[in-house]
Symmetry: C2
Subunit: 449 residues, 2 copies
């Protein structure tokens, strides 16, 4: 076999990077559970018709085919890999609703796949960490204010692992659609789609497109751009929209909701959330609050955390399960952390102690020491070969293992043990059934790179 080369768009971490990823995922999980969100996983595949009715990324879907499909067994035909965790969760809720308690708060940390053109922050395989709340029939609005607070709590727990601070940009579909309707537009989704291109093509070309594609007057186009330029970190956002004129019941409802979200965040997490009326979100299914999040100082990376309220995603006949969710782009975050070497792990292995081996004949003695240490929760491995001690110490050093243990015996055959901190070189007698490493050395830590 020739030496393989990496597949573009399918990132794989080295052991030290994986330790950082694990600690990030552990902290996200811890916070989500603190807020009462239950873990769920869904299968990686969905029927294609499910995936193709949800948004604009149809052609990026990966379809599955069994190499030699059995015509008698079509149970797995027409399947494709999921590209997010919202659509599969909505399907799961419908399928298992009789076995679930509502409102259902769940988090879901899994890989997703999209055949996008790879670049930093855009991968073909990537890990998402989603939280959603779904109600049966109805879902109280206050979950739209809770979700940003959960995310801020979770991401604040990552600041000390080197993650830059975030800023969440929030809008409400009712505000945009209500305002556009008050201006006289009929194709509200069309206006939203053009506003969504503001960052990419700039206001001048959006203005042209509003006129050319949607038949807007200059005044209408100008009002849309003024509206989309509004940002505010408090309830004043409503006054600024009302100052543009225009009146619509949907606009009023949306503004009241938007103010509640902004004000709740301003009290609980000052400076972390801003109302930003150009936020549109590509996906069709959002019906209320929409969220996007930038990494401060790394805005080029795109949104690291997005979501919104969806009223009609999970519905079957008269059974409707409205929901709201936010998805953290874990791989996108980590790719920046690793490419800019913001942090690393203090060692590349879980091991705190390497037990040296004097000779292959006495390996059992070293194994016994390792067993004693493991009983007290100290991650321990035994040297692979009974080479010179200098080589065994280098084995530990190259992996960042802080301690090397030397089992021995005195002239009477009684065991004599010493342990060396290979960073300081200090070597002291130690009892395998009592010695403990400093708490800081017990597990790998995340440190500045």
């Amino acid at each position: 076999m020739s030496r393989p080369t990496p597949l573009s768009g399918f990132p794989e971490w080295l052991p030290a990077e994986r330790i950082v990823e694990q600690q990030v995922l552990d902290r996200l999980r811890h916070t989500f559970e603190l807020w009462g969100y239950s873990s769920l996983e869904t299968r990686a595949v969905e029927p294609m018709d499910q995936l193709l009715r949800k948004g604009e990324i149809d052609k990026e879907v990966y379809v599955l085919r069994r190499l030699q499909a059995d015509p008698d067994d079509a149970g797995d035909s027409g399947l494709a890999l999921h590209y997010d965790l919202t659509v599969p969760f909505a399907r799961y809720v419908l399928e298992r609703s009789g076995h679930l308690q509502f409102p259902l708060k769940r988090y879901q940390i899994q890989k997703c796949w999209r055949g996008e053109r790879p670049q930093e922050g855009r991968y073909r395989e990537f890990t998402q960490a989603d939280i959603d709340v779904v109600g049966a029939g109805e879902l109280p609005f206050h979950y739209e204010t809770e979700l940003p607070l959960v995310v801020f709590d979770a991401l604040s727990g990552l600041l000390d692992v080197g993650l830059p601070p975030v800023k969440m940009h929030v809008n409400n579909r009712k505000v945009s659609q209500g305002f556009f309707r008050s201006l006289g537009f009929e194709d509200l989704a069309g206006v939203l789609r053009l506003v969504d291109k503001l960052d990419k093509i700039g206001p001048a070309r959006v203005c042209e497109a509003l006129v050319a594609e949607l038949g807007a007057t200059d005044a209408q186009a100008k009002a849309v751009l003024e509206f989309a330029s509004i940002t505010a970190e408090d309830g004043s956002v409503a006054d600024r929209v009302r100052a543009l004129g225009g009146s619509d019941p949907l606009l009023d409802e949306g503004l009241e909701e938007l103010v509640r979200v902004v004000e709740a965040a301003r009290q609980a997490a000052p400076g972390m959330l801003i109302a930003d009326l150009k936020i549109a979100r590509g996906l069709d299914y959002y019906t209320g609050t929409v969220y996007e999040t930038s990494l401060v100082g790394h805005e080029d990376l795109g949104s690291v955390c997005s979501g919104g309220r969806y009223d009609n995603l999970a519905s079957s006949g008269s059974d409707v399960y409205p929901g709201v969710g936010i998805s953290v782009g874990v791989t996108r975050l980590l790719s920046r952390v690793f490419s800019q070497k913001l942090v690393t792990a203090s060692r590349s292995v879980p091991t705190a102690v390497l037990v040296a081996v004097a000779s292959e004949e006495t390996r059992a003695l070293s194994d016994a020491v390792a067993a004693d240490l493991r009983l007290r929760g100290i991650a321990t491995e035994v040297a692979p070969t009974a080479t010179k001690y200098g080589k065994q110490i280098r084995h530990a050093d190259r992996r960042g293992i802080p301690f090397v243990w030397f089992p021995s015996a005195d002239d009477d055959g009684e065991p004599v043990h010493e342990v060396r901190d290979i960073r300081s070189g200090e070597q002291v007698p130690a009892d395998p059934q009592g010695w403990e490493p400093p708490a800081d050395d017990l597990r790998p830590r995340i440190v500045q790179a």
Copy 2:
């Protein structure tokens, strides 16, 4: 959308089952790290040619295709989902060898996909938990004795969550091949393949096939069957093989290795490992010790934990990375635990406390209590709606949340808090900044169903 139905072969757990799965995975991870194994993940996809050269399951591979593939961008053509974690790990080692330290001890817990006909214990999507050790150029034999001990340590940590005990059946390819060669067979892989069918078709038909397909004499066929019937829990296995006659250097080498594995396990984990010479393992790449594991009392489930030594899986030109690994079939284990209701979770949510809401106007008071409790690591949620307290208590009860918190104020507006253990009905005054639940109630526990 019509109500979806489950896809056969793609199991999805309910929230309480997922809690059991998480605790099982956490314990496996804990043990693997205690023994110094580093976590790694590989991408879900491999180039098809990689997957098709490894074994007998070609036709079960799921091939990927982008819905609208871009002819300018063929970077993701010819990919398929991995069906195990050994082949991807071998590829990863070759690809990243310059960045890795050898011997490399890694564990890997991920989903795999095979288009098998679904039945209990056989799924199209399933989670495997693998440990492997890979060396550069060479790998000391003692890792073949270590791996079963790691697995026993890991699985023993699951006994108190209701997992039945296991028995590992071990053989060595060198023993089988050396013995078959000493009998005069040339197609050693052919004999192995027929021996592998013993459990399925029985000794009489294996005997017939040895004669008909491989031209064996009756005496040769009888010797193969006698050999394959040998089992032993100690070093006597070597004597019993030698008593059959036959001599071959490979046989001698294999017997010495097999005895070392059996004796190491007999000392460290008595009764958990048995030499069983009919064990063959389907995959071609094993070259030494091979492992299979049955769940005691559930032998019909098949092996829940399999693996072996592979000398040539990861090699590129003169660079060879011999390895040994064992894979725990987590989904297969859990499917039995759930289908026979061996255990469940003490509640279906992480939440320890539900904070009641007296009225929507005072929801902020309840949110503040929840924030205080979360600061001390107590998983807390706030009631979704300010319904009657009886309904809020039922909300907690249906999820198994043990405590409901009632924030209130006295006649002077001073906050007055009470917390109720809804199992006993006992309600006591409590301070949101000081109260702690009993340690046993802090997190969901695994309990007898």
